[in-house]
Amino acid sequence: MAIETVKEEIKKSGEKNVVINRAIKSRANDPFFVKKAKEAEAFLEQHGLPQAYVK
């Protein structure tokens, strides 16, 4: 049963080295990643996007 579950999870990720693990927690509120996303937003606010991805 456990083996079948792993197979399904590998299929879901579509990448053989990537296995879904319910124990991997969300780090959406981790200060490190929040700061990185803010810095990235500031970069794109300043420099814009390729024309292909502008509304």
């Binding site: 969300s26 959406a28 996303a37 937003e41 814009g48």
Partner: protein, 150 residues
């Protein structure tokens, strides 16, 4: 792109990933996350890709530490596997990538350049150079990258 990679574990929503680097400095836990960004004029949703070493003692992630675990190519290939898994699930999302240092950005650029043919078969890659975006070219020193599944 048959580079050696670490086994990587992902959250159910495929936004968070963790793997363990193994080398002369021991086992180092690496954390990867795709964070949704708020960008006003974007026609697609954009996610920032960031990753770093998990410092157990301080319970924080560090992307400035020089691990020197002699496996940078394998680490990069493992992060690439996370990008593939993420874009398998979210093919219409854009991924923004900016190295924490110029050296890291150079690593990424070299990693892409040395596997460009295979990468370009499945991804569109843009680089920010000389104050504008262009499709990725070898030997350019880019400040940032944008990646989209073809």
């Amino acid at each position: 792109m048959n580079l050696e990679r670490y086994q990587i574990e992902a959250s159910l929503d495929l936004l968070d990933y963790e793997f363990t680097s193994n080398g002369p400095k021991g086992e180092i836990r690496k954390i990867v996350r795709f964070s949704k960004m708020e960008v006003a004029d974007a026609s697609l949703e954009i996610y920032n890709l960031a990753f770093g070493d998990y410092n157990v003692e301080q319970n924080k992630i560090d992307d400035l530490i020089v691990t020197d675990n002699k496996d940078s190519q394998r680490v990069l290939a493992t992060v690439a596997a996370a990008i593939i898994a993420f874009t398998n699930e979210y093919p219409e999302k854009l991924i923004f990538i900016q190295g924490s240092t110029a050296v890291r950005m150079r690593y990424y650029r070299m990693g892409i350049s040395s596997n460009l043919k295979g990468i370009e078969e499945i991804f569109e890659i843009w680089g920010f150079f000389d104050d504008q975006w262009e499709l990725f070219k070898r030997n350019r020193i880019y400040d940032a990258l944008l990646v989209k599944r073809k």
